[in-house]
Structure formats: structure tokens, C-alpha cells
Symmetry: C2
Subunit: 239 residues, 2 copies
């Protein structure tokens, strides 16, 4: 085997090619590790390294005691989110319009699992483009006594960043929902449209490694100036 790329990488590419061109059908078993090692004149370890790439990428799966099988391709439900592109309009900028500490109401108790009445940091940010207002972002973080309010940190970073900096904890998970809602009168005013105008409502709850809520953000975008976009793949990167 020539050494343009690593040998294990070539093994992976060759197998992938056989799979993608139909030489190996879904459900079919491929040659065993030992057979491939002998076929290519390389060690079993190297064969395993190549096959490992294809398993990780979703082309193959292993059945211990039997062998490797070609996986049925299926668009998995993993979305690579593109957050920058969807702005319709240029030069997005963010303006912190309100910051205060409020007592947790029912909604905050539910979202952040704090005690009713507990102090909560609330921020409102207006997202603008050169064409005018795009969205309103309302962010809520449980207030920790003695934690200074670093506005510049909270303002400029994106929400997960801001929360991680403020809470000094690792944001490990987030739940995300995207919905369509009509804007109420106040929101519509801020976004320079009439009440009832449809908005794209992106809500995100951030959690630490122990599933404790660290922050809650709800952003309402003018539907004519923002869309939520992403890409899904049947096979994941590499090889």
C-alpha cells in the first residue's frame, strides 16, 4: 500500500467506496478483520483502525461473534445548526435594553426550578440589523449572591457563553424549542410591526452536567427577518 495517506485511512476509503457504489448492500456482511488484514498484507490492528472510522461515521456496525455489517443509510435526526446565516439583513448588532433582578414567578419556577420568589437576573436584548429590529431576547439566570453583574460579559457573549461565565459552571446540555407565535402589542411595538404579526420563537433552557437549569432564554424574531436553519447528514464527518 502506498503511503499517500495513512494505511488505515485508505482501508476506510476503499470500504466506503464499495458501500457507496452499491458493491456492498445494506445488511450485508463485509470481510472479517483477519481476512482484510491478509488481503491487504497489513496487521489486524490497522484494519480495525480503518473499520473504526466507518463505524463512527455510521457506515458499518459490528455484531460481536459474527462480523461487521453495512448499515442501512438513514438521515439521522442530528442537525448541525447554522446560527449566523439566517439573519435577513446585514450587520446584526445587539443592544442590552433592560437588566434587573426579579422575584421568580410561576414560569421561572418551572423553567429554572428555583423556589418561588427567589431572585432571578433578567435581561432584555434587542437584536438589530441594518434594516431595523430583528428580535427580542429575554434571558433569565438564577441570581447568585455575591456574583457580580458583569454587563459586558452578559451582553456580548451568546447566551450559553454568558451563562457559563456568570455561573462558572459547565453548560453541558440545552433543551431547545422553536415555535411560531403572534406578537403581543408591546413586542410588536419594539419590532416595529403591528400586533399579531407572526414571530419565530426560539426558547432555550441550559443545564449543567447534573441537569440543573442554569439559564433560560426566549427570543422572538420578526418572521420576515429571521429563519432557523440547519443541515442533517446520514453519515458523520471523517473518511
Amino acid at each position: 500500500m502506498a503511503r499517500i495517506r495513512a494505511v488505515y485511512y485508505q482501508v476506510a476509503e476503499e470500504l466506503k467506496e464499495k458501500i457507496m457504489t452499491g458493491g456492498l448492500a445494506p445488511g450485508e456482511m463485509i470481510l472479517s478483520e483477519s481476512q482484510l488484514a491478509e488481503l491487504y498484507g497489513i496487521s489486524r490492528t490497522t484494519v480495525r483502525q480503518g473499520i473504526g472510522l466507518l463505524v463512527d461515521a455510521g457506515y458499518l456496525y459490528s455484531v460481536p461473534g459474527k462480523g461487521y455489517f453495512v448499515a442501512a443509510p438513514a438521515l439521522n435526526k442530528i442537525i448541525e445548526n447554522v446560527t449566523e446565516a439566517p439573519f435577513i439583513g446585514q450587520n446584526p448588532s445587539v443592544l442590552m435594553s433592560k437588566v434587573d433582578v426579579m422575584a421568580a414567578d410561576e414560569l421561572l419556577v418551572e423553567k429554572l426550578r428555583v423556589r418561588p420568589g427567589e431572585s432571578t437576573l433578567r435581561m432584555q436584548l434587542i437584536i438589530n440589523s441594518s434594516d431595523g429590529p430583528v428580535g427580542i431576547d429575554n434571558r433569565h439566570i438564577p441570581y447568585r449572591r455575591g456574583q457580580p453583574l458583569l454587563e459586558k460579559e452578559l451582553q456580548y457573549a451568546d447566551f450559553p457563553d454568558a451563562v457559563a461565565r456568570h455561573s462558572k459552571l459547565v453548560v453541558a446540555k440545552s433543551d431547545l424549542t422553536v415555535a411560531a407565535i403572534p406578537l403581543n402589542k408591546h413586542e410588536a411595538e419594539l419590532l416595529a410591526v403591528e400586533a399579531g404579526f407572526p414571530a419565530l420563537c426560539v426558547e432555550q433552557v441550559l443545564y449543567d452536567v447534573g441537569d440543573k437549569p442554569l439559564g433560560w432564554s426566549i427570543t422572538k424574531y420578526r418572521s420576515d427577518r429571521y429563519v432557523f436553519a440547519g443541515i442533517t447528514h446520514a453519515y458523520s464527518g471523517k473518511v
Copy 2:
């Protein structure tokens, strides 16, 4: 080392623990492969296997010639999509309301990159729950001469499935956008609301391995009966 789990797995878990409890800060270099091998009394290969898990999961990254470093945790932009949960209402069912072959208009030429006027298969599906209509799904697939119309295949499978079966090609990628739009009079009638009612509009273009469009689906959901939901993680599965 006891053999409750594989040794390499224990190595990964121990390192992960050190990272998550702050014993190892982001940007910090960990012990080298050889040092860990000696420390645990195992081979370098086994250490590498364990470290590999942490690299894949996003806890560590390697700098050849230098060492492994603790990665700064960041909620990545990968979303595990939950498609089943978001139905508000029970017992979703799908009704194929229209199937025909149409000549490609401008929109179809853009989305499916077919020639203007080319035959295109069009389907309209109404999504219902026990509470009433939820959404309208419009699906478009380039028409291939001699490809029989297998309604039952096209109706019951989800769109990527249906396209894969019909085109007999692997659906490898899809572009997805989620937007908020007001329903027009006809759509509003089908969904039993008044015109202008906000809808969540989920659009998906499916591509084969060569980025050739295989199908285009645009679904409009009643905003009070459907939300788009997902989960994001800073670290990906395993260990």
C-alpha cells in the same frame, strides 16, 4: 486495575472525572500517553484507546508533538432532533389528500434543480391529531420515467424514507429551515383557522451523496398544535 469495565474505559472515566470536577482546567495539558501508561501499569496502546474516547466526545484535543489538552466546553451547534414529541394532541395520523404530476415551475427549478417544465411528482398530506388538523405537508420529487407510483410507500414513510425508496438512492444530506409565516386563505381553511394565523413552516431539501436534490418538502403546522424541539450537548455520548 480491576476488570469491571475495560481498562481503557476506566482510563477515560478517570480522566473525565478529573476534567469535570475542575482538577484539570480547560487549556491545561494532561499527562502524556507514556506517563499515563507507566502510572497505571498498562500499555500505551490502551491509554490511547481511552484518550481516543475523550477526544471523540470533545473533552480533549491533541496537538501532535506537544500533548493532549483539555478542551474549553462549548455548547456545540449540533441538535438532536426530537420529531415525535412536539405534537400537541394525540394519535397523529396522516392523510394523503392529493397526488399528481406537475410541470416544474420557478420554485421547483430552484429547489430541485430540474429543468423548467420537467415533470415533478407532487403530494399533499394532511397531518391530523385527535384535536383536529395539525399541518399540511407538500412534498415534491423529480419524476423519473418508469418509476411506478407506490402510494403506500410514499404515504406511510417519513419524507426521507419515501424519497430513498422512490429514487432508490441514498439520501445523504438535507438542508432544513424553520420559519414562522402567516397562513393564506386556502391553507387556513384546511387547518380550520382564519387566514393570517401563524404557522410554523418546516422546509427540507434532501440531497444524495453528490449534492443532487432528491426531494423537497414544505410543511406548515398550526402554531398552537406543533413546536419544533431538540436537545444540544457540549459533549457527545460514550464515556
